[in-house]
């Protein structure tokens, strides 16, 4: 089992390397960690958005929370610099032959950053809190394969029977059925270990009083303004982290982030489209571009159970109508056209998949077949950030050419998530899925299973044949990649949504910053250092 994970990780890294080879902008994609690590210094960055939460159980759709939660909290197992899973609080772990029992041996002398001991009670508490219906964690469904989780979640049991601690340094987790990527799920921000005493002390606002055992502690959190992390002196991995401090400015506009980076105030920055020429093509920073092929798929969603989108022809027609190459051009080439749900970095991605080409005539024909020769009117819900607005406006212009007249409803992120799942709202919407864990199963299960309808299945997609195959995939260990490809082709034919693109993220670093983008957790501050020239 353990060996298998490692193989999978190796496979993934290869595919990343292969694909970035044909990416339009040439930039290093492997971790840029050069020279011997240097201890000290402050890593300074800025985010366009606020930080939604530091409560691991709530660190859901918004990936910006993930990195911060990962910096402050530890979990039983965690990612290394790539997609490999290694021990974190657990020194080692074993998986039984049948793949159902995970036994973790904890490190000695574990403490929270305030010096209080981290015990197996805290670990059991954290999992029980995560799945407690009152916690209302958006990620609870990911852990439903743990034995007894279902009973606990529907209130018929007082605790999760499948998580136990035989003694002070061992934790055992039992599963209902084998799950090849279960270790990846344990590495998610959701499964981070919290202090029971702290949670009981601050039941309402634990996010403001985050206490974990991760590489950093929260020095200060000013909502909407800044988060300052300081080195956790009691961190259990000797020598880490390298940085003394991490400062994250919040709600900083595109042009300001770029400007502050150019002035040398920020250690890294993302590259908004407006700054692409200056940062990526200009000679000052081109050598310091750090690139990551994201495990994302962007799509234009539709409510599959509502007219006119209950017609497969209509959904296919819209797939043909949208000019995906233009979208990639709008992204300054930082993406690849999506022809399948599985994103390029994940195993099972099929480089030869056909997908839907841009073909206005075919789109019109299909619409006519479905009885919409004159088109129809609808509405696209989108988050109102600069890039989404550009993409959605481009899509709406494409749809207008086949007679589909859409208005754009641009809203804030929170409003977006409030309305996108509602059955009678948001007939069309622009969003994406970023892998929770690096396995295509996440995409199929989260987006297409009927029990997630209204939640992550925003499309109300329901197809018994596809559903059966997804459930089969859950525990499949042999021939997994091939099964994913076959399933993906079948799903693509039913066109649950309009396939748009897979994104590529570019960041720029200052020359003295050793930095990389983690494929799952984005920023892993514990691994960065500043050589301080």
């Amino acid at each position: 089992m353990l060996r298998k994970t490692v193989t999978a990780a190796a496979l993934l890294l290869t595919s990343v390397a292969l694909l970035t080879g044909c990416a339009p902008a040439q930039a290093p994609s492997a971790p840029v960690l050069t020279g011997p690590p240097v201890t000290g210094g402050t890593f300074h960055m800025a985010l366009a958005s606020d930080l939604p939460t530091l409560d691991p159980a709530q660190a859901g759709y918004d990936a910006t929370s993930w990195s911060m939660v990962v910096a402050v909290f530890s979990s039983l197992v965690d990612y290394d610099e790539g997609l490999g899973v290694t021990g974190d609080l657990a020194e080692t772990w074993t998986v039984s032959e049948d793949g159902l029992t995970y036994a973790f041996q904890l490190r000695d002398g574990l403490n929270f950053s305030d010096g209080s001991p981290l015990t197996t009670d805290d670990i059991l508490f954290s999992f029980n809190r995560l799945l407690d219906p009152d916690t209302a964690s958006p990620g609870s469904y990911l852990f439903s394969n743990i034995a007894g989780a279902a009973d606990y979640m529907d209130g018929s049991a007082d605790s999760i029977s499948g998580i136990t601690a035989p003694d002070k340094s061992n934790v055992v987790i039992e599963l209902v059925e084998p799950q090849p990527y279960f270790a990846n799920i344990l590495a998610m921000p959701y499964a981070r270990i919290m202090s029971e005493a702290q949670v009981k002390k601050y039941p309402e606002d634990i996010s403001q009083h985050a206490l974990g055992s991760g590489p950093f502690t929260v020095e200060s959190l000013t909502p909407g303004q800044e988060l300052v992390l300081a080195r956790n002196p009691a961190y259990f991995i000797p020598g880490k982290p390298y940085l003394d401090k991490v400062q994250v400015d919040l709600n900083v506009s595109d042009q300001t982030r770029v400007l502050e980076f150019q002035r040398g105030d920020l250690s890294i920055t993302d590259v908004p489209a407006a700054a692409y020429q200056e940062l990526v093509q200009g000679k000052d920073f081109a050598p310091y571009v750090v690139q990551n092929e994201d495990a994302t798929t962007y799509f234009l969603g539709m409510k599959n159970n509502q007219a006119p989108f209950d017609s497969a022809e209509v959904r296919q027609a819209l797939n043909y109508a949208v000019d995906k190459d233009r979208l990639v051009q709008l992204l300054n080439g930082r993406g690849t056209v999506a022809s399948q749900l599985t994103p390029p970095p994940l195993p099972g991605f099929d480089p030869d998949a056909k997908g839907y080409e841009h073909d206005v005539k075919k789109a019109k024909d299909l619409l006519a077949q479905a009885g919409y020769a004159d088109g129809f009117s609808s509405e696209i819900l989108t988050v109102n950030d600069e890039q989404s607005m550009r993409v959605v406006q481009s899509i709406s212009a494409d749809l207008a050419k086949v007679g589909v007249d859409v208005t754009i409803n641009a809203v804030d992120q929170s409003t977006f998530y409030a309305t996108v799942g509602a059955e009678d709202q948001a007939p069309m919407f622009f969003t994406y899925w970023l892998n929770y864990y690096p396995d295509a199963y996440d995409f199929f299960a989260s987006l297409l299973l009927p029990e997630n309808a209204g939640g992550s299945n925003m499309f109300y997609y329901s197809n018994p044949d596809v559903e059966a195959k997804i459930r089969e995939l859950s525990s499949l260990t042999e021939g997994r990649a091939e099964a994913i490809q076959a399933l993906d082709a079948e799903v693509t034919a039913t066109a649950p949504f309009v396939y748009l693109y897979h994104s590529i993220t570019q960041n720029v670093r200052q020359s003295d910053v050793s930095y990389y983008i983690h494929p799952v957790h984005l920023w892993r501050f514990a691994d960065y250092w500043i050589s301080g020239e």
């Binding site: 606020d50 219906p133 209302a136 000013t222 709600n251 400007l259 502050e260 809203v411 409003t415 992550s456």
Partner: protein, 320 residues
Amino acid sequence: MTLTRPRAVVPASGFPRFLAGRLVWLLAAVVVVVSATFVLIYVIPADPVSAVLGGRIQADQIEAIKARYGFDLPIWQQYLRFWGGLFRGDLGFSFATQQDVGQAIAARAGATAALAVAGLLLSLLIGVGTGVFAALMRGTWKDRAAMGTVVLGMGVPPFLMGLVLVFVFAYLLPVFPVSGYGSAAHLVLPALTIGLTGGAYYARLLRGRLVEVMDADFVRASRSRGMRESAVFVRHTLRNSFLPVLTWMGMDLGYFLSGVIAVEAIFAWPGIGTLAYRAITDYDTPMIVGTVLVSAVAIVTVNLIIDLVYPLLDPRMAHR
């Protein structure tokens, strides 16, 4: 056409009664504003819990959380609970930001107050300087040039001025930070944005008044009594022209204290304006009500203070 907001005239019964009356008015205004806001925002289709968690968790979980924070009660009960909480000094809890509303506003009040005062001072400095200059030079090309610039300045919305200043000070003259909060230097550009756009109004207001007063009989009389020109200007002309400026100042300060949304947004200034803006886009109803309440209190308080200061400057109105 009145030049100023009609000022309350102090009744014969004296100052304490006047003050009491104004305070009652102040309270009434705040109550009405808050009530109207309450009704207004509870028409919003999305409640704060669904806005944050909707689509991610089951509907019954959402109901449970709504019940915990009292969002499931009928609007009149929520309304009464709000006032009940207010009397205990509790402005409510913002579910969207997981913060106490009162604490969140208190944490940002300093930033907004600093920007409001600095912005007002710069407006005055620029406005009074230009206005006096134009009045003294009246009829000359210097007057016309100054006032032409002022008219143009009045057509520039603050957000555009802010963007231009960011550009100028980011690329051409990088001396001040263009974003954030923390030092006096951070204050310069947002305050200058307010000063330049707001100053135009003071300049125009003051020049108009000055020119009027300069021609007034009592000023001519003082001059003919042999007072020095500069003394006449300062003691009579300026003093008598300053009342409308004072009124406008009061209103400006009140509104600045409620947060200058666009300017705060451009400079990432962590004030009440950005807090309110975010609350509006997040459907964060407790935070919207809280910021509106605090803003309304700021506006009426400043106006009350101006009411009290007014007679000190205007010899015709005295509190006895």
